[in-house]
Symmetry: C4
Subunit: 272 residues, 4 copies
Amino acid sequence: MKKDSSLGKYRETLREIIFEAETPAGKLFDIILIVSIVLSVLVVMLDSVSTIRNSYGGFLVFSEWFFTFLFTIEYFLRLSCVDRPFKYATSFFGIVDLLAIIPTYLSLFLPGSQFLTVIRILRVLRIFRVFKLVQYLVEIRVLNQALRASRRKIIVFLFTVFTLVIVFGSMMYVIEGEQNGFTSIPRSIYWAIVTLTTVGYGDISPKTCFGQTLAAVIMIIGYAIIAVPTGIVTTEIARSTRRKVSTQACRVCSAEDHDIDAKHCKYCGAKL
Amino acid sequence: MKKDSSLGKYRETLREIIFEAETPAGKLFDIILIVSIVLSVLVVMLDSVSTIRNSYGGFLVFSEWFFTFLFTIEYFLRLSCVDRPFKYATSFFGIVDLLAIIPTYLSLFLPGSQFLTVIRILRVLRIFRVFKLVQYLVEIRVLNQALRASRRKIIVFLFTVFTLVIVFGSMMYVIEGEQNGFTSIPRSIYWAIVTLTTVGYGDISPKTCFGQTLAAVIMIIGYAIIAVPTGIVTTEIARSTRRKVSTQACRVCSAEDHDIDAKHCKYCGAKL
Amino acid sequence: MKKDSSLGKYRETLREIIFEAETPAGKLFDIILIVSIVLSVLVVMLDSVSTIRNSYGGFLVFSEWFFTFLFTIEYFLRLSCVDRPFKYATSFFGIVDLLAIIPTYLSLFLPGSQFLTVIRILRVLRIFRVFKLVQYLVEIRVLNQALRASRRKIIVFLFTVFTLVIVFGSMMYVIEGEQNGFTSIPRSIYWAIVTLTTVGYGDISPKTCFGQTLAAVIMIIGYAIIAVPTGIVTTEIARSTRRKVSTQACRVCSAEDHDIDAKHCKYCGAKL
Amino acid sequence: MKKDSSLGKYRETLREIIFEAETPAGKLFDIILIVSIVLSVLVVMLDSVSTIRNSYGGFLVFSEWFFTFLFTIEYFLRLSCVDRPFKYATSFFGIVDLLAIIPTYLSLFLPGSQFLTVIRILRVLRIFRVFKLVQYLVEIRVLNQALRASRRKIIVFLFTVFTLVIVFGSMMYVIEGEQNGFTSIPRSIYWAIVTLTTVGYGDISPKTCFGQTLAAVIMIIGYAIIAVPTGIVTTEIARSTRRKVSTQACRVCSAEDHDIDAKHCKYCGAKL
């Protein structure tokens, strides 16, 4: 397909500004973007506080629409200047970018849904790329890797927890009954999760002797199994951050166990 | 004992369908079974929600009995086609299979007990076998091994926790007294467990100065000793993740627990 | 000092029965003792439940005095048959044995103090010695050693926690004030401990905007520093349970890294 | 600048007494200081308890001003005898020393602010220096080093937590609405933090079915991610406990971070 070359050039410049953070213009764009996102999230938050809404409601609604229009334009610009718009639209950031503007339009039909625009806070995650926080990216990768490696163990663990809360929740429903706040099995399961995770709101709590005994057992179990995910993740983090030791031996004294960045043997001083 | 060979063949086919998941028929059976279990648990849960029971009560009761009859037939088929019915009946899954049908029959005499049928959710644990989630089985074994290895340490720990909650609970009963909600020592022990495990419902909480001071001490202790089971389990998970132990037993002395790279039995020296 | 030899012999036998658990008589004595302790603690617990006290009060009071007399006699027998009574009286178990009988006598002057006799549950700790639970003793030693090794780190940690709760508690007292339940600094410190340890009763909770913001900060800090004691204890447990590997090399193939209980080289099968 | 030598000598002696803890006079000064600090904090605490204030109010106010004058004089003496007053004034202890006296003066204009003087409890941290608790200083350094090394990972983690609570809080605001206590997004975020950290006051708790389901999801997530900071800190504590790093810097290239058994600088090869 033949392309108008001046339009192509224009698209290329636009792409650089919007998607890259290397050029001054690109960096400026990203900074303005992040500031806009944070401001728009603040606007939505303040709009939800009734005393503030009563005083500054008009201004807040205006700002909300202003930011939404801005982000809508930005979204279509992004779509227009990437080579594969569909790939961008289905990527993590593409979906977040879309979800960040939909709720405001939706609020015309479903009042209240505009508050879901706070999901645009996820867009701020670009910050690590903008400011070249490379070391943070390394740490993120380490954590990510550790969580991914422990994925299967955590699924097994969650499966066990779900089975436990279903069984315990139903037992509490039978023992305590509707008169003590355990009005249904789903609600009792909710209580079991609140208890097992040691959150313990106290909006529902066992009243009978037998119920309190079972609750105590659930808590002790919760106390013991809180150790399991911690153990899993700790092991993986320890593994993925293990100190890098070079496998190189000194050519003069044959000593090993040198740091990966060492240039001289730490025992005899010879060049490695 | 002589057997009717056509009956024997029929039994063998039945056993393959019910107990194995290799053949298409066996796999289909297991999938239908798991779907039935999940559906039946959902039915029991929905039946416990009073608004739903009022509208669809008849249908839910019918479904419950339908699934129970299904599982009863399945239980007897299982019993009939295994070679050693008693061994199956006393195995973990055998007991769960039985417990999964009893409560519905029991509910004829003890209304309310039908809700205990949710224990059949435990039957879903077969899922790991059905879908050949071998890697998950490996992870389960690692976690299992870690928990088993830390068994004794955890028992010592729980023993200490029980002693602590009895002593602290009684002290709070004497300090706070019945007028502040600590109406008996068992109830005070329940409070001590709620506090030590950091659940903290707030249904019972100290009111006096001295009681709050002691409660603060208990919390700090709970904070410090929550570290102990975590430390135990983390250490074991790290070890069983790292240490590769062969499942091979020595053919001469039957000793197990050999390292994965071992070529000779470490106890009798025979070749592995 | 000259001694009546028959009295000496009698003392020796008594000492063996009471303090040792090797002879059948000694073992029987210890089992009876542990059963008595558990029964007496149960009696005290039941006595605190008002409905049970109203029905069986007389019997429970009688049992309590019966057990107390029994333990009093036992205490004096212990004192009489050890060679160094003072050393026993000031040892951990000596003090617990005394504290286990005093509250009942004290209750003649201070009603209610008899409930403190549950401290005699600590005497049950002898159980590990009686039943030769040697492996448990090993585990106890490992845990003990780990906690002792992390003693100083934990003290530093607790010191930091105390400083934090004093500062945060006072800030909340100034911010929230007496009308929101933060009636004094000690009470606000109690609240800060309840929050930092993630217990969260909810009997006192911030009401003002600024108070809730500070509370959120305290929770996030609590969330982060709950990691510190866990890290300390985990490190020490990992260190004290590290797998015992023999330093012995095989005389035939020079392979190392044999288990401490290995009798043959795992690579060549030669006797170690 | 020429100095009066007798004044210089006087300043030198003063500096030794106030800043050092080697000489008997210096040690005595530090002990008196720590006792005064603890007493003054106790006075402020007691002053906040209304029953005590009503009885001993006059004495407590007098003590407060007495200690404040003492610490003010001490502060100016410290300023006068150090060589670089500005550096001291902007150091951690310099700022704490100033903050420890300001609130009392401020209370003349802003009643209630005198309670903020408890910040002077931070001054007690000098205790580790005074009593030569060298081993504690080592432990503090290990913990400090571990926390510093995990700094970046913890920031990434907190960033994730903040994003999560903003998104979850807003969702709950939309789902539960103002009639169930979720009166604004900031308040819903406060609730999300209370839940995610497993504190769980119960002052706000979900009432609707859908809200309780989402809350359960948040709790399970909180349960899983509580493992992350623990894993991070445990790994670092294990590393800084294990890894022995010399404090010696290379005399040639000034590089630090050498192993304790290193004989040559690993960067330039010079003898250490």
